[in-house]
């Protein structure tokens, strides 16, 4: 989200012009969607949340400072929208037993055991608290820079590292003897 729209367009958007909003929407929809889908991991939900993000952007146009980066602003709003969704949505982890007895399978070539390992990892990941899951998704899976995550979540880089560490620790405890 580093492509900078013309300053005039940003001023028009801040003044509430729909045409300017449409231009910004068309320019940034893919990037906002891409950011959200990396957090929620579901394309249909990500589309809905992209619309919700731009709706909030549209409502907040008067508070936007054209001197700021529109992309960074949009990413912060998108992160909040995605986080709100994760707090409400219940992950499908009904079958998860926190401490299932399991053989040590980290290096097992058996496809069935590998599938079971992936399944348990996925469910353990979905059980993370939303605040940790967002950070873990962006830092561990998407490998986004800590500074970028910090900006999107309105946190310090130290807080991002701390949450990443807590997420790893929780994952290890949930995966039991696998980790």
């Amino acid at each position: 989200m580093d492509r900078t729209p013309p300053t005039e367009l940003l001023h028009q958007f801040a003044a509430g012009e729909l045409a300017a909003f449409e231009s910004l929407f068309r320019q940034f929809q893919g990037e906002v969607y891409g950011w959200i889908v990396r957090i929620v991991r579901d394309p249909a939900t990500a589309e809905d949340l992209t619309i919700e993000t731009f709706w909030r952007i549209h409502r907040a146009h008067a508070r936007f400072d054209p001197a700021r980066s529109f992309g960074a602003w949009a990413r912060t709003i998108a992160t909040n929208v995605a986080l709100d969704h994760l707090k409400v949505a219940r992950p499908d982890t009904d079958e998860l037993d926190d401490h299932l007895e399991s053989p040590s399978v980290a290096a097992d070539p058996n496809p069935a055991i590998q599938r079971e390992l992936r399944d348990r990892t996925r469910r353990a990941f979905l059980q993370l608290p939303p605040r940790l899951r967002v950070v873990a998704t962006l830092a561990l899976i998407e490998e986004r820079p800590h500074s970028e995550i910090a900006q999107a979540l309105n946190l310090s880089a130290t807080a991002v590292k701390s949450r990443t560490f807590r997420a790893i620790r929780l994952l290890r405890s949930k995966l039991g003897n696998l980790a």
């Binding site: 891409g34 991991r41 990941f125 980790a179």
Partner: protein, 81 residues
């Protein structure tokens, strides 16, 4: 399992995501239109409220106060209405 191995396991376990494949602007327009319609309905309701004579509001206020002070009178009010 160290952090690197955990990262690799996570990447294998969490399916990758795809990029946006369609234009969402029509959907956004529908959302804007729906909100605009809702907003105009609300404005119309407010304007119709403000057009009511003052004594209607006074009567309504007296009714609310009466119901709060004498809740047992509610069945009587309902009977007369």
């Amino acid at each position: 399992m160290n952090e690197q191995e955990l990262n690799e396991l996570l990447k294998r376990s969490i399916p990758p995501v795809s990029e946006l494949r369609r234009d969402l602007w029509p959907q956004m327009l529908r959302r804007l239109d729906a909100q605009a319609a809702e907003g105009s309905w609300f404005v119309a309701l407010l304007s119709s409220r403000s057009a009511a004579p003052w004594f209607d509001w006074a009567l309504l206020a007296a009714l609310v106060v009466g119901v709060c002070l004498f809740p047992r009178a509610i069945p009587v009010w309902l009977y007369h209405f």
